[in-house]
Symmetry: D2
Subunit: 370 residues, 4 copies
């Protein structure tokens, strides 16, 4: 029987994996058990954020050394999902998701992890229904990998999917294909939309007839509160991490999620904690905070320019990117309830939870603090 463990580790800078190295060297973590990484690095979170690449290079070199396998192989097997930007009270950290076999404490249901990689997505398919289907199939494969039988037991699906670069677009055009756009930023947004639709379809929240090409980035009533999507030039295929609960897994962790209606939705934060039997009145106690293994949030600046009727200025700020604004604000709220800045708050939440809002998922121990 498999057991999922999550280690939330801090870093001194984006190339600092010393805490993981130490745990591997002390035998607490077996390098072969590392199934996925989800982390926040202290970059700007934009196209020119190289903290993600720096961390990934360091991670893969470390695992390569311990596993005796080339980093170029590992990078195609172990999803390493990083969100740049630790605005405000966020603290740079990464969660190492490990899967091991053997004896462990049993609960009726426990955290289950599955991963899957798709075939490369051709440039002309990025951000289109074919991309949606590719993500959906990969999500189903990851659910199968996790051994989760009921779709409602899936609580968080992290997807990292490719976008079109200028070079890839040019190659596609030369081959007689027509990419949706050759603007990398637009392509990233469409890819995130396709990823969210793909998760919704993979979880049977929507069917193939529920949308058309024109729905992506347009019909925001289509959304999944369990989809967390990032897109980047550095990947060519869809990488998926599914997190849920399953009676087939041992260990004492459990996951829950809630949609966030808007950037002020403190109720969603309190509710998801309550789902895990953790009280926040108004803040989680130190003892209960110790039970929390990971906090995962998606959010975005409301595209209509208002929050609960009042104008916000995030979208028109030439100095600070809107995603940096919203991450800092929502992290301030969530960290205040949790009492800890080691939270994953990521922007770009198109179709990932309600429009103008997002979602929150929390992983915590089922064993109440003594």
């Amino acid at each position: 029987m498999r057991t999922a463990r999550v280690f939330r580790l801090s870093m001194a800078h984006p190339g600092d994996l010393s805490e993981l190295e130490d745990l591997i060297e002390r035998g607490t973590i077996k390098a072969a058990d590392v199934a996925a990484i989800i982390g926040k690095t202290e970059g700007n979170g934009g196209v020119n954020d190289f903290t993600r690449g720096y961390f990934t290079q360091t991670l893969m070199a470390l695992l390569s050394k311990h596993l005796g396998r080339p980093a170029t192989e590992l990078i195609r097997e172990i999803p390493c999902v990083l969100s740049g930007g630790t605005e405000g009270v966020m603290s740079p950290h990464y969660s190492v998701f490990c899967v091991s076999e053997g004896a462990a404490k049993r609960h009726p249901s426990a955290l289950a992890i599955g991963t899957a990689f798709s075939a490369p997505v051709p440039a002309e398919e990025v951000g289109r229904p074919a991309h949606v289907e590719s993500v959906a199939a990969t999500v189903r494969a990851a659910i199968l990998d996790a051994g989760i039988e009921r779709p409602e037991d899936v609580h968080f699906v992290q997807v990292k999917c490719p976008c079109v670069t200028v070079a890839r677009a040019a190659a596609a055009i030369a081959a007689g294909k027509t990419p949706l756009t050759n603007d990398p930023n637009k392509s990233m947004a469409f890819a995130r939309a396709a990823g969210a639709f793909g998760v919704a379809m993979g979880l049977s929240e929507i069917g193939p007839d529920d949308f058309t090409d024109a729905s992506l980035l347009a019909d925001f009533s289509i959304q999944s509160p369990r989809a967390s999507i990032s897109s980047g030039v550095e990947v060519e295929s869809n990488e998926v991490v599914v997190l849920g609960n399953s009676p087939g897994w041992a260990g004492d962790l459990r996951i829950a999620h809630r949609p966030m209606a808007d950037a002020l939705d403190i109720g969603a934060v309190v509710d998801v904690l309550a789902d895990l039997s953790i009280a926040a009145s108004p803040q989680v106690s130190a003892a209960d905070a110790g039970r929390i293994a990971s906090v995962l949030v998606k959010c975005e600046p409301d595209r209509r320019g208002r929050i609960r009727g009042h104008r916000h200025t995030m979208l028109d700020d030439t100095d600070i990117n809107a995603q940096r604004h919203i991450r800092g604000a929502v992290a301030g709220l969530v960290a205040g309830v949790i009492g800890d800045g080691r939270i994953f708050v990521s922007g770009g939440a198109e179709h990932q939870g309600p429009d103008g809002g997002g979602l929150i998922a929390v992983i915590a121990s089922q064993e109440e603090a003594g």
Copy 2:
């Protein structure tokens, strides 16, 4: 008997005072009753933030037109305290504090407002004990103006005080004087420290023997959780607004305050609301939110680089100013509890509340929502 009223108004841009103009034209506000303005404009909050000057110019021209008096006089009588920076979920707005005589509903105690201006502070005194004493005397004058008899009934003291510019420093040196520094940014920080010490002294929290020159910006155990200080090149004297409760005032508003221990201190937010009989579980209800007239917060990025043991990245960010980071984060938390982005969150909280934290004050109606 005096009555204090507070109008929280929105603006479309920093030169937009149309909501105030409308209220004056409709007779809701008498221009002569305007005692002070405290607002948030959508600048960067730094030295090169001209949204404050733009707003002030527009305000004084408006009042000048309605009062038939020159703007140059009004600016020395009506404190206009603006904090630039509406990061994240904050909404640009301004609170107009009005004082009128005549019949109004009576409560045992109600919001009282007092203002005072000091003589110009010589450049060589800025940031030094003489500056502290000047602020303390001005605070006492403002308390007298407010008619608040018990020091514990003062809940928020806003001070806007001068700093040394390169030109002022040069003039002082030419006159044989020695300014503390000729760096405007350092001077602003020392001036804020002097302002905070001055408030503490004016409120008898500390005495003249409790500190020396060397205590400013060094001994952070000296602080006042009721002091909110801004410093700028545009003023030459200390401008003070005192807010408290007094049995000598009519009206249904009341004010309370709490220190914030750190940037995650959601408890302080909930407690200050409870002081005003407003529940936040976890968010203030829409009905109760309608009772809130003004939310005033000071905060700062913890200078030790950590929040509750975890590294934050605000102080080392070359792209986003640390004050912009912390304002966005704390505003995210406070707005989440209140359910409204029209809150005044200001950085630069040296000696204003606990080190690494700050303070929160809220003005609300005493009449519970029906």
Copy 3:
């Protein structure tokens, strides 16, 4: 006979018009002679740059006071064109263009100035051929106003034209019209393109059959090296300032212009100075620098991501806006040749000079330094 004079004045901040006020009070400038203002303010140059509004409000209040006419009228008669952003070595300044009658030194040809305002541009026409035609007609009116007979004597056409705001777009849609876009940033770019096409048409560089709707922001072979366009939400009609040379004007100023092939085109800078008999070897002498009255530059980050074959990083920088990057770089080059940071360098040069480059115009005295 008319004489054009240009006063290049410095400001301490965007609300500081004291140098102009001083010149008016001393009688050097008659307020009634002020025909147009072109200036650089120290904002960020983006949507949330309020330094332009602050300067304009201060200017119009000043002229209103001296002319005894309401600012609301003056703002529709005197073009005040401001470009935000004094990156790098640029110094905040403004050029006051004055037109007076009476005796003045005669040269065969001298600087001529004309201005014109169009009717308001309906939201559904912004960025479309009807907008192009409106600009073209306004340019022709301004040329007529300047009394310039030969099109080749026009050297610089500054246009400030409206864009669609969310509110204007909504109103148009409600009235059954279809705006090109309701994204203000896109609308501004299309409006600048329409302005450039309008200048090209007004100068007979292109005819109405030389382009279609699809040419704007797409066919960059269509461009005018004499067009300098800004677009903003604050105007509703096209405002045009035409600068050229004419035998019908007195005074000793003259203007010349050159296209800039790319951001490294120092040759264009040297050539335009040579057109005015000013040597730069490599820098303009102090004596000749005193002859220069105004330097006007348009530029943009090459949209193909490369300059002379080498990758630049301006377009992918999440921290600094690309227009701020290019203004700083091109200003560094031009100021280095001129030896003076008081130059007007503006971004957003779509169709204004060669793609990836821009243009430079210089106004200087015809009388060689003694």
Copy 4:
């Protein structure tokens, strides 16, 4: 007889050393010949610029693979000096300095390279006379390594020196020592000053009696137009690269340098090229541009707030760091003269060339373009 070669290579991102790898694999460069690297990466150039660490990690891994030696050793032997920030027209690139033995074309004098590393600098000595002396000794060692006999043949001395971190300062204090400051940013500035003084002393431009502790960051008349200093938390000892000309070296490269009086000093750029028999009238011809192997510039925003009498806004900009401003401006000027954006322009030029200015060094082939 030794020959120095310089390869100027481009990168697609800070972790992209593929051009160097290719040259090594094709045998053009022997990994063992790599003596030093000087490059520009596309970060922000500040404390939180991790592009330098990412590049260095990638470089050392590459050389380690080819040399069969651990990266931890190589990093203490091969100076890798990176300046973050490719503002404006700068193109990310790195110059690989190689030294090989054997037959090569002879000129009377040719580019000579020397490197040296000092012992670690104790925290309490950073930014003080002992640090100056350590740098001076290391500079002398690097000159010896280069075999340059006459001090006037040294044209550029790159120093990378340590600064005090909070942790190092705490350790020093615990050991009873007194660091100059525990603020990393101040420490970096003092360390750069000590580096510049050390170069001046190592080149016998100043003697030990020409300055005191109080001279650093205060007496800007003490400066060396051949000193280029960077400081960072990542090094513990002083790393020095000396570049000059020597009759003892073969090859066709030669170096020259000039001080820059201010940010507009285009004359210095033209003069240093003339020193290498390269004309710029106004721009270097394509043929001559091909002779240029490396362009190295130091600059800084004038601390007095004015350039040639006109106010600049770099020092008061809360949105863009002053060093980013000045790098972009000076790079615009230098790239315009050279006609190429692959130039190394670095800020933080305290005591490195004239106050408010800096210096420029150029390496070029002595063989004139055919």
